[in-house]
Amino acid sequence: MTPGAATYARCLWGILWREGLRFVQQRERFVAALVRPLVWLVVFAAGFRAALGVSIIPPYETYITYETYIVPGLVGMVQLFNGMQTSLSLVYDREVGSMRVLLTSPLPRWFLLVSKLIGGCVVSVLQVYVFLLIAWLFGIQMEPLGYLAVLPVLLLTGIMLGAVGLVLSSTIRQLENFAGVMNFVIFPMFFLSSALYPLWKMQESSLLLYRICAWNPFTHAVELIRFALYLSWNGTALAWTAGSLAVFLGIAIVAYDPRHGMIRRRGGG
C-alpha cells in the first residue's frame, strides 16, 4: 500500500508544473527579478568602479572590473529574493488555503516541502540564466563552460536559500511581515556577504563584520557560484552551502511537522 516511485514522481512533477504555470502568469515578478540586479550592475557598479579596486584574488587570474566582481553576487541576489518570495508565497498559500490542498496529499510532508523548494529553485535558475545572458551582452563574460558548471551549483544554492525562506515562512504569521523580512533578513544577508566586496576588504575595516560575513551562508553560496563560473573548485564554500541546506531544511521540516504544528496557531472555531 506504500506509494511507489511513480506516485512520487507524478507528485513532484505536478508541483513543478504548477510553479511553472504561475511563473508564466506572473510576468511582472519575472521582470522585477531581472531589473533589480541589472540596476545594481549598471548603476551601482559604474559608480563604485572608480572608488573600489579589486585586486587579484582567487578564482580570478587577472585584474577584473568591479562589474565583473559583483556578477556572482547579483546571481546570488536573484536567488535570495526568489527564495524569500517562495516563502512569501507559502504564507500566502496558507492564508488562501492552497497550502491545505497541498498537505492533503498522501505523500510525506517533507517530500511535499522539498518538491516546493525544487519548484522555486528551478524558477530562480531560469531568472539567473536570463540575467547572465544580459550581463554577457553588457560584456561581462565568464568562462564559456562556466555557464554549464554553475548549473548544479545554482540548484544547490537555490534550494539552500529557499530552505532559509521556508524556515522564515513557518515563523511569519501574516503577509504584512514581509517588510520585516526585507529589513532583517534579505538586506543583512546581502550586505554582510562577499557579494559586493571581497571579504579581505571587509577585514581591513572591521574584524567583527568580517567574522559575521564569514559565517553568513549567503557568502558561501556566492563564492560557490563565483568559483563555478570560473571553473574553479571551492570545497569550503560547497561544504558550507550543503551544511546550511541540511540545517535549514531540517528546521523547516520540523516546523511544518503536524506534531509540532507551526500552522496550528492559526486555528479557530
Binding site: M1, T2, P3, A6, T7, Y8, R10, C11, W13, G14, I15, W17, R18, L21, R22, Q25, V96, G97, S98, R100, V101, L102, L103, T104, S105, P106, L107, P108, L112, P258, R259, G261, I263, R264, R265, G267, G268, G269
Partner: protein
Amino acid sequence: MAQRAGHDVASVGGGIAVAGLSYRYGSKLALDDVTFTVEHGHFCALLGPNGAGKSTLFSLLTRLFTAPEGHLEIAGFDLSRKAGAALARLGVVFQQPTLDLDLTVRQNLRYFGALHGLSAKTIEQRSRDGLAAFEMAHRVDEKVRQLNGGHRRRVEIARALLHEPPVLLLDEPTVGLDVPSRAAIVERVHALCRDRGLTVLWATHLVDEVRPEDDLIVLHEGVIRGQGRVPEVLESCGGADVADAFARLTGGTAAA
C-alpha cells in the same frame, strides 16, 4: 449511525472513527473528549454554531496538525500511524475556496491529481466524468476566476473526489452561496452518498441543510451535545425539529 464506540475497527469499510479527541489552543479547550463514528455510506451532519470547534476538528481530520490526545481513523487507517493511507482515502472540501483562480478548471484538477500520484490519463478521464456529474464539463477550459461561487464549489467537490476516496469531508461548503446553489449542492452530495456509498461528514451551522434521514452530531463549545439519527436526537432532547433541537442543545450556555 453515530454512536459511542471503541476504536480499531469502527471505521473499516470507509467510515470515520474519532475517539477521545481533545485539543487546546493555549489554555482554551477547543475540543473536549470528542467521540463519534460515521458509518460507511452514511451522511452525517456536524451541526454547531461558529466557534464550536468544527474547524479544529476538520484540521485534525485532515492532519493539518495533530492532537496529543485522542484517536482518529479514516476508512480503517489510523491517522497518526498510517497517515498516508488515511489521507489517500479522504476527500476534503475546505471552508475557504482553495482553487487557483488564475488556472483553468482542468489545470486545477491536474495539479490535484498529481498530488495524489494519479497518471495524466486517469486524471483526464476522471475529471471528465466528475465534472459531467456536476454539470461542469463544458467549463473545463475556463479560468476559475470566471466561475461563480456555486460553480467553484462544484469544481471543488469534483476535485475532492478525483482520487475516488470512500470518505468525503466538507467544512461549511455552502457558506456565501445563494439559496438555489446551496440547495443544489446539498442535494448532490446526498445523492453521492446514496448512489455511491460515499461516507460524508458535512459541517454546517445551517439547520435547513440537515435531512431527517441523516446522522446528526451537535457540537457546541468543543463538546458533543447530541448525536444519533436525526429522529433519535430530536427525541432525546425533546426538540420539535432540527432547529428546535439545535437551539435546546446549544442554547443553555451559549451566552453569545
